[in-house]
């Protein structure tokens, strides 16, 4: 393995480790910090991919990741929580230990799944890590009982998909990357609008309060 391939594996592994930690974190501050670091590692991964492919645009993509995912989303998420007066303590359907156990099982599924689905050589561990991050993101989406937790779960899953794209394609066409960042920003704005509104309406961002529409 080349040094860059090793670096990419380390960055992706670090991202998965952070996702694993996030699956059982119940404080908004630590969850946001972990997401910030995970996104910084994603930016490093994009830079490593830029060195592999010699594509200058990947440096711009890395810059956009830093701008949007390391700075903008975490900062404004914390700000939205502060302004709306939401609780720092997050809620989940399962205990942290159970969530960690499930996340560990998902890591095994990702390792096996990546081997079975895509035998493409050197990037195998990066692919496996990206699958793992997507799965843990999905776990957070279904296990959390509050809007912030679910929102961060979505962002973690999105980081996993981005890692998968980088590992597989070493960067998609630049125009497409810009468009997908734009969608992500719009998604984030909607999340903050809804958390604010939920806090106003229910004095809580718990999704337990959003279970009235049933048949």
């Amino acid at each position: 393995m080349t040094p860059i391939a090793i670096a990419m594996t380390v960055f992706a592994g670090g991202m998965f480790f952070l996702a694993f930690l996030m699956s059982s974190r119940m404080r908004l501050g630590s969850l946001v910090t972990a997401f910030r670091v995970q996104s910084a590692l994603l930016a490093l991964l994009a830079i490593a991919a830029a060195f592999v492919t010699g594509e200058f645009q990947l440096f711009i993509v890395a810059g956009l990741i830093v701008l949007i995912k390391v700075w903008f989303i975490p900062s404004f998420l914390l700000r939205a929580a502060r302004v709306s007066g939401a609780s720092e303590r997050l809620q989940s359907y399962a205990r942290p230990a159970t969530l960690s156990f499930v996340a560990a099982c998902l890591a095994i599924v990702a390792l096996v799944g990546a081997r079975g689905l895509l035998p493409v050589g050197a990037d195998y561990f990066v692919l496996a890590a990206s699958f793992g991050i997507v799965l843990v993101g999905l776990l957070m989406l279904v296990s959390r009982k509050d809007m912030f937790g679910e929102g961060i779960g979505f962002f973690v899953m999105e980081n996993g998909i981005f890692t998968f794209g980088l590992a597989l394609t070493h960067g998609m066409p630049f125009l497409f990357e810009i468009g997908s960042f734009f969608d992500l920003l719009a998604f984030f704005i909607l999340i903050t609008v809804f958390t604010h509104r939920a806090q106003d309406e229910n004095a809580s961002v718990a999704t337990d309060d959003l279970r009235t529409l049933t048949d």
């Binding site: 998909i161 998968f164 125009l175 497409f176 998604f187 909607l190 809804f194 229910n202």
Partner: protein, 490 residues
């Protein structure tokens, strides 16, 4: 040029009402801009049905199937705008909403229509993905338009589920890009250009394309409302303002299905057979028919009833698409018929909701007496939705059942059973709703009688088009046009 003008006209629809001061001017501007979108959609799409060749460049691609979708979007957004003018006018009059909310409404409607059209006319699968995600983002605040508790819940569920689904679809897109670029066939943007991928489809690695299609089907299928990814649909459709529900059900679901059908052509090309994708379509189609049947039978809310019916009809369309060429004809007829019917039904449901202030069956009765025009239109539309002639759905369902009885008799039996349950469920709920007194007396006196208004005219346009479409299908002109559409999706 025409496509660019069409997209710009949607942005005009989004922005012009913002600069208007009074309600009449906002409505006038919205109507004119929406009419412009409709006229441009006719100008863009009609020539393709009469021999004009498909339009293609690096960014846009318009074949006969895309032209059909553009026509549907152009027409339904126009009638939805007319209905919205009546609907929002009433709500402003009763103090339910304010003038800035009306401006915001048309702003998001314009962006929504623009993103749907972008989904259809994009030649690039990447831009199609961005536009499809944008349809979720632009409609989320429309689902949450009212300050009701249920609206927030519906919008949150819609945002999270659809965005997650579309994000999973992105994995399919990455795999397609990888399949095209790693084998040295295409590079850069051209590796996700649909027309370029189509030319190299037989050389794309089948294993990768199959995995890609599974992600696309699950991802975009969430947006189509296919079971088991449908959980957002009844909530979003029942909580959104009724003209928006009409657009969501009538055209948005089809726009997402359009993305799946485009991908399917590539996968079939790579596998040199449509057998594998057809099997997936049949399974998702059958599931999407039987699960809503159960919910329709026990439904207590008429907007949710229509929403579950949308899931069922999308299931029928997907099921038909898995039945070869005859099935493809049935699915195209069903797409048009369902889009026109369901949007008109939601517009009628909006009139009922405005008068009775409830969506619950037990709180509403004697609609025929209270709202004679709306009631008569609603009853006619329901009967057509249940595939009673001259509904075009009669033809499509006859085709799909006769074809499936031959090819997949077990699936055909299950679908027939589901259709029978749904028929019974609808009749059980709709007849008392229209003709019998409400089970729970209303809190305040409900005014009896109505004048024929623009919303009725818009619904009547749908009915006239539906009958005209059925008649058209019986003429010799229909087969060459249908043939061109089927060629575009197979």
């Amino acid at each position: 040029m025409a496509i660019s003008l069409l997209l710009v006209s949607c942005l005009v629809l989004a922005t012009v009402p913002f600069f208007m001061r009074g309600l009449r001017f906002i409505f006038g501007a919205a109507f004119l801009a929406s009419s412009g979108v409709f006229v441009l959609s006719l100008y863009t799409a009609i020539p393709l049905f009469f021999g004009a060749s498909s339009f293609e460049n690096g960014y846009w691609y318009l074949d006969t199937f895309a032209a059909l979708m553009v026509l549907l979007i152009g027409f339904i957004q126009w009638t939805a705008t007319i209905t919205s003018i009546h609907y929002l006018g009433e709500e402003v009059r009763t103090g339910e909403i304010t003038l800035p909310a009306v401006r915001r409404y048309f702003f998001f409607v314009g962006l929504f229509v623009c993103s749907m059209l972008l989904t259809i006319v994009s030649n690039n699968l990447g831009f199609m993905w961005i536009a499809l995600e944008a349809t979720t983002l632009t409609t989320t605040l429309l689902v949450a338009f009212y300050a009701h508790k249920g609206s927030l819940e519906a919008a949150w569920k819609y945002l999270i589920l659809c965005s997650t689904g579309i994000s999973l679809g992105l994995i399919g897109l990455f795999l397609t890009y990888y399949a095209a670029s790693s084998s040295g066939l295409l590079h850069g943007l051209s590796a996700i250009s649909w027309t370029n991928l189509l030319t190299v489809a037989p050389s794309l690695p089948p294993h990768l394309m199959q995995i890609a299609f599974v992600f696309i089907l699950i991802g975009y299928g969430t947006k189509v409302g296919l079971v088991p990814m449908h959980a957002w649909l009844p909530d979003a459709h029942s909580r959104a303002p009724s003209p928006i529900s009409g657009m969501l059900s009538g055209i948005l679901l089809n726009a997402a299905l359009f993305g799946i059908l485009r991908f399917r052509v590539l996968v079939d090309g790579s596998l040199a057979s449509s057998e594998w994708t057809s099997e997936l379509f049949l399974v998702f189609g059958v599931l999407s028919c039987i699960i809503p049947a159960a919910f329709i039978l026990i439904q207590a809310d008429y907007k949710r009833l229509l929403a579950y019916s949308s899931i069922e009809h999308m299931g029928l369309i997907v099921f038909s698409a898995g039945l070869g060429t005859v099935g493809a004809v049935a699915s195209v007829i069903h797409i048009v018929g369902h889009a026109l019917l369901k949007s008109a039904l939601f517009f009628s449901a909006g009139n009922i909701l405005l008068r009775f202030k409830s969506t619950k069956f037990d709180r509403i009765g004697q609609v025929m007496r209270t709202l004679p025009y709306t009631g008569a239109l609603f009853l006619t539309l329901i009967l057509m939705l249940l595939a009673i002639p001259p509904s075009p759905l009669f033809g499509s369902e006859l085709l799909l059942i006769s074809q499936s009885v031959v090819l997949h008799p077990i699936f055909a039996t299950i679908v027939l059973l589901a259709l029978a349950i749904i028929f019974a469920g609808f009749i059980r709920l709709i007849i008392p709703f229209l003709f019998s007194p409400a089970l729970v007396p209303p809190k305040s006196e409900v005014e009896v009688g109505e004048k024929w208004g623009w919303s009725h005219t818009a619904i009547a346009f749908h009915l006239i088009l539906l009958v005209a479409f059925s008649v058209f299908l019986m003429t010799p002109m229909a087969s060459p046009i249908l043939e061109r559409i089927i060629t575009a999706i197979s």
